[in-house]
Amino acid sequence: MHFSTRVGIVGAGVVATVGLSATAALANWSSYISSWTDGDQSRRWADSAYSQVQFKGCFAQYGTTDSVNIQLNRDISGLPDAHYDTKTFTNCFNGSNYWSNGEWTSLPSGNYYFEATKVAQGGSCCLLFVDYVYQDTTSAD
């Protein structure tokens, strides 16, 4: 089967999954975060090889530590998800114009999401707010 045909099938597959729990998109996306605590998860997106997550303007309510740990996971339906490296974001807590950047490389193809594993001092103590969240699937930017 040719590559172009494959891409058509990929698109159809993604449309078909809309409404399911692990819906994945194939493009970059941006959003914001409101009232996240430890264990909260992002939307799913399809990715391979490289992924980048950026936060701009972070605030941890009730936090005494200005940081959040972000773990990248690969969604595996019906089994425990695969975990990848955890990044600690601190720079975005310096103000509304400061951003933090997490990059993951050598990833296998799959549907990914990120999870806040430790907001501020952790233990579900605090609520995370982020003005801008940007997810980029390509290293060419």
Binding site: M1, H2, F3, S4, R6, V7, I9, V10, G13, V14, T17, A24, A27, N28, S30, A46, S48, A49, Q54, K56, R74, I76, S77, G78, L79, P80, D81, A82, H83, Y84, D85, N91, Y98, W99, S100, N101, T105, S106, L107, P108, S109, G110, N111, Y132, Y134, T138, A140, D141
Partner: protein, 430 residues
Amino acid sequence: MNLRTLLRFTSALRFAPLAVGVALFYFFHTTSLGLRQFSLGYPPSVVATSLEVMYPFAYATAIALGAWESGRLREAEIWQLAPARSQYRIAAQVLWPAVGVAWSLLLLPVVLGFAQERSMPTLQSLPPLLMGMLLCVAHSVIGFIVGCRVKRIVAAPVVAAGAWLAVAMSWTVEPFWWRHILGTFEPIEFGERASAIAILADVLPTCGLAVALLLYGVALHRSIGKLGSAVLAILVFASCSGAGFQLARDWGASAPMARAEVPMTCVGHDPEVCVPDISESMLPSIATQVTTSLTRLQSAGVTESPSLVTDSLPDGRSPRASTSQTWYVDLSRGASAGRLATLIIRAAVRFPCHDPEPELARTVLLWAATKAHQVGEVESGFKEDPFFDEAQRNRLHRRVAAVLSQPEQRQAQWYRRSLVVACDQPGSPS
């Protein structure tokens, strides 16, 4: 024992419908969509994707049935009834149906995967499957030895749950080496194949444990005594698991992959443009866009002139860095996503540093895109960046317009100077 008697005697066949049901459920619930989305029909990818979710079930099945069958032998006092017969032979006779059922959990999704993707297995696609089959044998042996010592009604569910949890949860824990020594494989990318070292790290600990238990539990205690066989068993297990740990201890989240040979189709000369065979139908339009963009950029003063522009798709998850003569560009996926022009421009505009100053870098890229008649595509990429707002985009357009208002020769000089200046300034914070 003849075949008919064995099949009537074994409990493995009664478990087979459940095993097949699990394999079918996971294939259609999980694997099928993953194959359609990501495998591209590439045989190593089809095998690895089909197997990823089945390894824990196959190993749990093998170890549970092994424990169950040996418990049946023990309760039937087979060992006492046939003291002259080889214990290995008796064990192998009752274990092979159990191993066969466990193998069906691996083979069925692989066959279905190839059928769905209309692809055929190749030799380099098989190691993850053969690894799984070997480890099913090892798990059945471990289960058999446990079943010789513990009541089967207890041993079978406990070892099944233990094996399933250890293997399935290995991908959720750190340190990462856990996931590399328990017999699993994550999806393989186009252009990759399983490396021998990754397979070795996966099989050594479990096979070492199986051999150690076999040495201790079945044979050697009769000839060199319990203490001797126990010491030998510990040595075998420690050296095999230690070797697996030493191999995997410094690996990251993913085990190292080997590069596979991917047939490529090429066209043209200076630059020659190459894509893998599966993208052959797209090659004429890709080559036209590459050469047209390069010609326009060169006439504007972007002097890069590679002799080869080749698709980075066969590089899997580890793309090679371009050189002045050879560019590795994501041609197939870029063309499919409507981003090919952007990728060519980014390859042509070669900053002498990894992290150029973003504002000047964007100015240079948009200027080059204008020269290549590809402003729309590059602009749409800028618009996706929420950190680059409309006011900044307007300023960018004014700066590019100012450059474009100058004579051609001055623009080329500005371009060459900007490449250097963008790298003299600090890049983005991280």
